[in-house]
Every structure is written in C-alpha cells, then in structure tokens.
Symmetry: C2
Subunit: 373 residues, 2 copies
C-alpha cells in the first residue's frame, strides 16, 4: 500500500525478493510507526531470525518471507548431489518452520515451494522453481487480499464504526491485508466510516501498525485501550468488528489470533455486534481437530512489564515528523514478573462470518472450502 515519504506517496510491498543479491527485502516493522525503513536478510538463518524477532510479522507476510527464505536457502547450495541438496533444503525448511511455532502460514507456504520444486530434475532447475514458486506465493497473497476486500467491503456501510484488533493490515501480508482489506476497498468505493484500533498490548501493534497504516491511507480512526471496547459497545458506539487470524481450523471453525481477540468476540456476541474474521485460505489449518491442540507461544515477560516507544512530551498530540530516541520503559513494579500468552482461540459460535477470497462463510461451513485448496 501507500507510504507518504515527504510530499510523495510511494507504493511498497511488505516482503519482496532481490534475485540478483539473493536477499529478502523487508519493511522493518519494529521501527514503525516512528520510522519507515527497509532491511535485507543475507541468508536463510537471518530470514528465520527476522521472523522470530518480529522484524516481519502477520500471517501472509511471514508466509511469503518463509517461502522466499526457503528459495534463498535453496539457492546458496553449490553442487549437483540431489541427496545432499534435499537434506540441505530440509534443514532450511526446519529452521524457518521453528522461527514461529504457532503460525501455520510459513509451513503452508514452504510446502507449496517444495511441491513446485518436485517438477525440477536438476538442483539448478529446482532452485529456479523454488524462487518462481515463492514469487507466485507472494503474488497470490496479494490477489487473495484483493478478493477479501471485494467480499468484505459489502459489510461496511456509510457512517459505521468498525473495531479491529492487532494488525491484520498490509504490513501483516504482502500487501492490502486481511482485516483491513474491506476497509481499503470500502474507502475506494467512496464510503465514509470510522475505525477504532485496539491498542493490542503487550506489543501494541494496533496503536503502532494499524493506526500508522490507516493514517497513511487517510482513513478516519482512533486508538483505544484494549479495556475500552466493552464500554464503547455498551454505549452503542461500535457497529462491526473485523479481525485477522494466525490460524483458523477448517474442521471446527475455531480461530487463533492475537491475545485479546477472544475477549472482543465475547463482548461483540453479548452486544449483538457482527464479528468477522478475514483470512486468506493459506491461514486455514485442515489437520487439527481442536483449538486445544494449537500451541500458544508464551512470550517474553518484558513485553508485558514495559513498553517500547519514542521519548516525548505526553501533552503533544502530533509529534515532530523526525523520529525521536527509541526507548523501552519498565512500567510495572520492578520486583514483579508476568505471564505473556501471545494468542488465544475464539470458538465458532462467537463468529458471525469468515471473510475469505472465495466469499463469506459461517465458521462451521469452512469445510466447503476444503476441496478448493
């Protein structure tokens, strides 16, 4: 999507690949919203570390990053020994898979790359097919998000107030995003609406990334504390909720997403507010039979005990455009520890619909898509 750089507006993808240098090019998301910068990973282990360290995050973006990372890793192999090459590729696969154990997208994306490589007869052919498949994965990710936007935009009517949680925007995909796709499509159709961005502690991706995206795109929005949505719903100030998902179980309709999503679904259900989950098909896990089986990352306690930001004056609403000094402040009592589960699971009875590139489905009807995959 667009980024305002000085007086210009320039289009970027979150993840691209430079075939000449064999580098993955990523938007450095940890510097946003205070600074927009691209970084390049020189080797697949660096690409895996970028996923672990959340330089890049979000279902589609880490899928494409892993796909490119697998191609990147495959392409550094020298020689013609098919057995050694296969072992090398398996090692690259494992490294990228282990970078984020909760997510299913890297595995799905890399499986597509592996399948494409199967058509090659020589190591060289397979290396070329790996890159072509990764590029295709990235392009399809964009097309899927465009399709989510077409279907989801129908849900947004003029004057609506839409709540979203975390960042399932273009920064979480290769472009356009899932939860934001209906918003960008509705904006393109000339509709006026307002978005509440849940702050999304402890990493605050709503306050930082989603708010930044919407501001770049000129969409009316406000940040709210994660505690505030219940109150706003009780006062009739939220009409629609759209969130993304890191993993959706195709068999059960259960949705795993950023911690706090489940809470918003429970609140929306109580208030009769439609709650939608927007996902590309690659996010669907067709294997697991229960949300209980989804591994939930317990992340570093420091995330909960403090916050990252730019040192500034609390009274100034609009900051100077040049980035200030980034710092981590310890907020919590210095002698206390924290629990920090990264994700939660929302059951299908709390979900009005799942917006996919193939249309909007009730969560229990996702099975119908199994053949489409």
């Amino acid at each position: 999507m667009n980024v305002r750089i000085g007086t210009r507006t320039q289009h970027f993808r979150t993840v691209t690949f430079n075939a000449a240098t064999n580098r993955v090019v990523l938007v450095e998301q940890r510097l946003l919203p205070h600074e927009f910068k691209l970084v390049e990973t020189r080797a697949y282990r660096e690409t895996a570390r970028a996923i672990t360290d959340m330089v890049v995050r979000g279902a589609g973006a880490i899928g494409a990053t892993a796909a490119y990372g697998l191609a990147q890793g495959a392409r550094v192999f020298r020689g013609r020994d098919q057995k050694k090459f296969t072992a090398h590729v398996a090692q690259v696969f494992r490294t990228l898979k282990d970078a984020r154990p909760t997510a299913v997208d890297p595995v799905n994306a890399m499986n597509k790359v592996l399948a494409a490589m199967g058509a090659g007869e020589t190591v060289e052919e397979q290396q070329a097919l790996a890159l072509a498949a990764a590029e295709e994965f990235a392009n399809e990710d964009v097309q899927h998000c465009e399709a989510i936007g077409r279907h989801g935009a129908k849900l947004i009517r003029n004057g609506m107030r839409v709540l979203t949680h975390c960042n399932a925007g273009w920064l979480a995909f290769v472009d356009i995003g899932s939860a934001t796709a209906p918003m960008y499509a509705a904006q393109a159709q000339g509709k006026k609406f307002h978005v509440f961005c849940d702050e999304t502690r402890p990493r605050s991706q709503g306050a930082t990334l989603t708010a930044w995206e919407l501001a770049q795109q000129g969409i009316s929005h406000e940040v709210i504390a994660d505690n505030a949505a219940g109150f706003l719903m009780s006062r009739g100030e939220i009409d629609l909720v759209i969130v993304g998902s890191d993993r959706t179980l195709g068999r059960t309709g259960e949705v795993s997403n950023k911690i706090g999503t489940y809470t918003k679904a429970v609140l929306a259900h109580r208030h009769g507010i439609p709650f939608y989950v927007a996902i590309p098909l690659s996010t669907i896990d067709w294997n697991l039979r229960s949300g209980r089986d989804i591994p939930i990352e317990e992340r570093d306690a420091g995330e909960v005990l403090g916050a990252w930001g730019v040192i500034s004056n609390p009274k100034s609403r609009i900051l100077n455009s040049k980035p200030g000094k980034r710092a981590y402040v310890r907020v919590a009592n210095p002698t206390s520890c924290a629990r920090n589960p990264g994700f939660d699971v929302t059951p299908p009875e709390l979900i009005t619909g799942v917006i996919t590139p193939k249309g909007i489905f009730r969560p229990r009807d996702l099975q119908k898509l199994a053949s489409a995959e």
Copy 2:
C-alpha cells in the same frame, strides 16, 4: 500497610493530616512502583490538584483526602463572621468536589465533615469539629476495609488463582484496601494463593500499584496484559475475580469502576467464574436510578497513546533497586489520536456478590443496606 525501606519494614497510611502545619500528607502514587515518597499539600487548592492530577487516587483515599482538604480549607479562615465562613467552606467544598467529577466518595466524605461541623457554634469550634470528623472518616475507612477483609477472606481457598483489575488496594484507601482486603486477610490466615494483576491500561495501575503492593506484602502474583484474562479463563487458570468500585448504585446494583472492569465481568460470567466487587459503604450512591446517569470522564488521549515508566533494559526481570530516569514514551502512531473513557459500568446480573463491611450481598440486595447508612 507495610513498605520495605532498606532492611526495615515500616507501616504507612496513604493519607494522613499534620494538624500543626495544616498539611495533608500523601503517598505520591505517580512515582510508584519505582520510588516511594510522601508529599504534603499546603492549601486546599493544592489538595484538590493532587486529586485531579492523581497524586492520590482510589475511592477511599480520595474520600479521606477531600475530608482532610475540607478541614484544611476551613482551618485557614480568619475571623468570626459565620456567613463569610459558610460561604468560604462552600467554596472549598466545590473546589474539592470538582477535582474528580465521576467519584462519589469525596462528596460523601465532605458531607460527613459538614454535618459534624453543624454542631459547632463558633467558627473556631466548627474548624475543630471539621478536623475531628475528617480524622474519624479516615479511621472508619480503615475499619471498613478490615471488615471487608474478614468477610471476603472466606472466598479465597488454598491454591486459588485470583484476578484483580486496576488498584483497589491500600493505596486506593487510607489503608488495607477493598479488593485486596480479602487477600491480605487470607494471607494472615496462612492461606496460599496466586494473584493475576491486570495491567490496566492506559494508566497501568495494576502493573504498577497492585503489583507493588503484593510484592511488598510477599503475596505470589504475576502481571498480565488486559488482553490475557479471557485466555486464562478459557484454560481454567482463574478461579475468582475481585475488583473494587468507584461508584456503586445502591438502587440498581450497577458498578462503575476502572475501564475494563465490565469486560472482565462479561468474561467471568461466560466461564462461570465468581465475580466479586469489594466496597466500603461510602462508595454506594443512593441517588442515581441508572448507570447511564453516571458521568464517565474522557481522559487525556496521551495516556492511551503512550506509557510512563523508567528507561531500562527489556531483558532484565529484576531491576536495580535505585530508581532510574522516568520518561514518557509515545507508543502509538504519531499522527493518530485516541478515545480514552476512564470508567465503565457493570450490570448486576454479571456480579456474583458485593463484599461490604456489613457482609456479602447480591448486587440487587444492596437496598438492605440503605438503612445502615
């Protein structure tokens, strides 16, 4: 309660009065948990500002502060003109009342002081009665919290995991606290239990004040993001919720408390987890007929858009004991704004019981206490 100062443990109240200097002495709560310090207000307007600026916060503490502030203001009047004195006292009352429009405690506390003053015949007598009444209010606040502890401790069984929101601890009262009173009493009875402290964005009173209190008192606890309680409940990791209240409607059983309380009540209800509100009787509003009539403060957007803390290393779990440099970091996108409602309203059907100094009542049965007031 106790504060560890070096190797000693010393007892403090949150609010006291120095009659010789006519100053209100307050624990400077905005420096906690990083620094423990007392501040003194020299005049009633300064006392009101301390309430507005949240040097002191919490139902009982601001009640006692307002009571002392009214006595402080009354005591600076020079002369014998009863009419002028009455007008002066009314001015002091208004100033202290306007310091926090949502709270009912300052008004209830000051009404008690005013009523006691009515027995005095001269200005001097009324000034003395004002101070005596303020002292009595503070002592009664402590006794009420002790009684809440006696009744509430029965709810806490060995091995329980208790969730609390915001800070309704001794820092929110003159001593002991409301939501924490059952915990401190259960601890004194030798029970072992664990407390989850909701961070309580945007001001993070759970992560800062409640965690600090529990650490000083040696109670097992962890801080969690406000987003995490729903997940922990869904995994059976929370057995009991106890929160405080800034205003409870005696006629309807509706509970106004820190933003996010309503959300926790909705979640607890869904999971069949007992949800208790602990309050002294002074927090009960007998006038309002609907929670809709409770004014909800819209606080500064800067609270949501950033965080206050001490600049430090995110990887260190236990910080150096000497306080570091306090700073405000802007977390959110610099060009975005925020909504910041400070409180919400929880309906009686979501509340298992209200723990009062007179026993535990169902919220709709609070009417029975009307005659006790």
